[in-house]
Symmetry: C5
Subunit: 306 residues, 5 copies
């Protein structure tokens, strides 16, 4: 995620960091080359004039608009879904912490609060690593003791295993007299909210936007852009490369951003900052327990935070 203090409208035109321009530069240079060739040859390919005119392009514009708008909306919807899941993690982790503290305030023996707190945070860390395909063990080693870690090694669904351990602690405590049965229900609901967020994150990862859409959009955009200079050259002459590259920039850039946003758990600049979100949940739970909390993550020199 790019977190950048607002810049004025003029500087924003020339921003490099946070822009997707670097990622699409090769294709744009290619378009510059193609349109210059079209300009030089007067729109001829191997000596034969390709008699396109600007009237042909709005016909393609209908499809292009639908594909681009759909692709972008579907991608952003996935980003929003991911945002909601991580918001739910924060909300449920806090509620569960608050309930565990309040409900067992009079029964200190019922629940090992310190262990519960560390396992709860471990759920979030494990989920982050599962979604990013990274190794959770180094970070979990700071939260769980060695025997527990050993048991978890090799698990395919690590956040689920940790959440099950959290539930087990809470159910045991809640079913132990003189605790009231209602405490079970109250806690169970939040554990389920955590489980729902975990499952929803996996769902985002395991059901991408159908592949056919991407192929169709990609082909349409590129073919359109390759034909464009041949359609423009008779009408706007030397301005052809300028307009062609500008049009191509808008399409390629949108495709590039949409691709990043559609996999919101990645590490591209426009993905969610899972590390920061994980840290925020940890910090909040720590503060609720009144234990020292780690510092919040800060953006790096490139205004990135991941």
């Amino acid at each position: 995620m790019i977190v950048r203090p607002p810049v004025n409208w003029l500087r924003l035109l020339f921003v490099w960091r946070g822009s997707v321009l670097p990622a699409i530069l090769p294709q744009l240079l290619l378009m510059l080359f193609v349109s210059t060739v079209a300009l030089e040859t007067g729109g001829r390919i191997a000596g034969a004039k390709l008699p396109l005119d600007t009237a042909a392009f709005p016909l393609l514009g209908v499809s292009l608009a639908i594909f681009l708008a759909f692709r972008n909306n579907a991608s952003y919807q996935r980003f929003t879904e991911a945002r909601l899941c991580w918001g739910q993690l924060l909300i449920a982790a806090r509620a569960l912490t608050s309930q565990a503290i309040s409900c067992f305030a009079a029964q200190p023996a019922a629940l090992n609060q310190a262990l519960f707190q560390r396992r709860l945070i471990a759920v979030v860390y494990a989920l982050k690593h599962q979604l990013r395909g990274t190794d959770p063990m180094p970070e979990l080693a700071g939260l769980l003791d060695a025997p527990e870690l050993a048991l978890l090694r090799g698990r395919s669904f690590l956040p689920v295993a940790l959440l099950d351990a959290v539930r087990q602690m809470l159910v045991q405590a809640a079913l132990r007299p003189p605790a009231r049965g209602e405490v079970l229900m109250v806690l169970d609901r939040q554990v389920n909210a955590l489980g729902a967020a975990v499952g929803a994150c996996e769902r985002i990862s395991s059901t991408p936007i159908p592949y056919g859409y991407g192929v169709l959009l990609h082909r349409t955009v590129y073919l359109y852009c390759f034909l464009l200079p041949f359609g423009l050259v008779d009408a706007i002459g030397v301005a052809t490369p300028l307009i062609t590259v500008f049009v191509a920039y808008t399409f390629f850039a949108l495709e590039a951003i949409a691709e990043q946003v559609a996999e919101p758990f990645g590490t591209a600049p426009n993905c969610l900052a899972l590390n920061a979100l994980t840290r925020q949940i940890e910090r909040s739970v720590c503060e609720q327990y009144g234990v020292p909390m780690p510092a919040a993550l800060q953006p790096d020199a490139g205004f990135r935070i991941d």
Copy 2:
């Protein structure tokens, strides 16, 4: 579902597997033929000039854009709905498993955990087969014993019958002292979540997008494409077949993808990978119980997973 490692932008232009091109090739060849005829005859039909010009097509573009965008969005919404249902199945199956393990940990006699686990997985398998219209018995035979299978044979709503059996086990266990009544509520909620996902999947199957939309879109797209070369030929001459086929490709391909996506439980390349999702749920529940779990499904050589 197509699961393909990212390819670079150039190769993506020529991807065959995962594209809908094969499915619409005949129609595209027909369009190539029609537009070549229009080019040869200079836009004449039986000797009479069809005096269309490009100005007529944007008038049709309004309708076409609305129909295509609507059709595609409505289809994708059904795909999303289906994704959410299967996500809910995963979430609820895990939560129920975790609850059943925790809540009856101190009462091993109350619930036959092994039977419960197999029935729970059987619900998901039965749903998959119902949605795909395939025979569930071979796969269920690995989960349930013969007498139970015999009772289920011929059932119209097999997942419901299995879920009722799951509920019966849980209610009996939860109402049996010294279990607390709250356990009933906690379990009941997750059983209902499973039932809701089952019913929602049936709803997707039983209420398709109203038939009239498909007919209207289909006719508009085809008539538009057939007229197009006659409108273009005077303006762009030899480029007519190129542009016509390109425009037709974008429309036909979107219609084809939307058709696949609208029936998300089918087996077309852009449908949901129900087999993989079912297996994922089975694997997760098995891991929660600590029993050996089957391997995850892998994409085949054509990058498909179903």
Copy 3:
């Protein structure tokens, strides 16, 4: 609802049943007449040339696109809402059945299961008839006995009355020792889900899309279509009637489908098949109780099912 096996792309162009063409044929013939007149007179009205050209129409296209897209989306949203309500009816009826069977399995005297089952099904039938404005008594007579029917006659909110009776039975059974209080909550939630679906269906009927939208769209579409041939005749000559009727077809047909879909409980070809959905709920509840179930409804010769 039209349920038609897939036909190939060519036959789909000439489908009659399931298309809205019959409903808009008179208006299309009128458009054919108007455009032929415009062609014959060269765009003159009473001898005076109406100097429209094609440039004027895209200006209207903006409004037209917004009105058509909005109207269609708002209509389809109502259709979707209705789908969800009937899905919820199915889900809640099943869950309630399953709960009633499980929770009172050990207390056969607490609940008259046969009566409960028939009343539950009667709720759904009563709702269907209320939404369609038909007489529920013939169908209810097969489910309820004469004294109960007599009490219900003349009720304005029949499904509510039946649902209240269902609730009364369940609350009595759940509050009767030794039943646990939690059973009350578990059942109450599903009764409320049924009530919510009933209320939501009434809401769809009682709050139509604001009338002004329909008038505005209708006027814009018709005025546009009447002016169109005068704008086209100079540019495309003899092709004017073809294009005019084609454009008019797309607008009139979309308006016609949207009108059907906006009242999803009607009996037009693109409405929901309430009879089939009602029967499906009945069949599922019957199968859960293990009693003989009626046959599923089948589409008629015209591929319709209502």
Copy 4:
């Protein structure tokens, strides 16, 4: 709300009641005047030709389409939100009534059912008056006795005060042995559903669409329409006033409807019929209690119901 029996397509073109034409007539006449002047002067202002041509307008069309579509969708979303709130009121009022009758059937002394019923209906009436800014006292006087009315006079949040009184009665009854504690939860949920609907209605009133949008749209529409005749006059001559007024009608009318729909609790023709909805809730609750119910509201001669 306009409730009008369907009229045929021809009559619908000339409908006056239910159309927003009356509200925008002055502006349309002004546009007729402006475009006639432009026609007479050949597009000159103070002798100087304003050299607009039709090519300039599609550039503005992009913004206009986005503003109009957004404004309309945001407005309709508020209308939909309001519909859902009133649907929820109906659903929750019925469920609460049904629960209160069933749960206290065996404890007639626990709850004064008649008082409860009148207070419940009073909540809905009070909400209606709060939303419309009218005086609730006359209608409440028919439901509540004088001392209670006196206490309520001057309250800023009258529906909340009444709902609190409803809750108080129910909590007292539910906490009074031998009532089971679960009854409290069951009732509390529906009281909260009513409170949520009340709060959501206030939210609609207190957070309008940001003011800037309306100003921006308004200016764009009017400036566009004022410039339009100068752009059209060279191309379409005497048809300029016709097309200008037609285009202006579509924009002004959409803006006018969207304005009405955005404040769904108002009394304009396209707002919600709060009186009818309130009456419907009252009727349903009365029927549930088996007491005489008032007649349903009917549309007046102008097909309006408010």
Copy 5:
């Protein structure tokens, strides 16, 4: 937020307060300058003609429409999300107040109602200050006593800390015999609703719209507007500055409003009026308790309320 009584359509054209015109005036003047230069030079840059014509702009219009519509919708969605959160705060605060009063009516010793009330209101104030980045202590000092304030000073998640304190009071009271366990559940649900609203507000702040979108839109809009006069000058001559500035106004203004709306907790004119909403919640809770309530906030002379 701008709360302005309706003005007639003519005055609305010239509204200054509530319009974003002041914020974009510099850029508009620049566009006026650029387009005047283009007019004077006949579209030449450094003596060389930039041969753009109007046909090139619709090609860019596709991207522009998608970017603007997306940006605006995504921004408004965040505004709506924020509205819903604050609506939920109001609803949950009222419900909790009402429950606390009713449930402990017979046990005055269980809960310190006055302290509870002040802490509940403090949660809302603390949230407002956290979202706006302002110092909460001055306002909290009127609600909480000094020792409690001292404990809260330096907290990173102040609303969470206060909500935890609220929960603690309620759980203690609810677990204290003879209170019924169900009271715990009833209260817990509303505390969680408050916590969910707090977390959702933080989510809005911590996950902005991906940065890349803003950069892409900004560049496209400005480059388009700078090129526009060169494309228009041959076609519309002296009208070029008028149309250029008009087009630029619509784009810049939409970008400016969308930017304000996307950060709904800010203090720009189109943000949410958090002070007014906070006060409304305070007033409602005070009225429920029957204690004197502060006056509602009123718009200032510029029709603003924040």
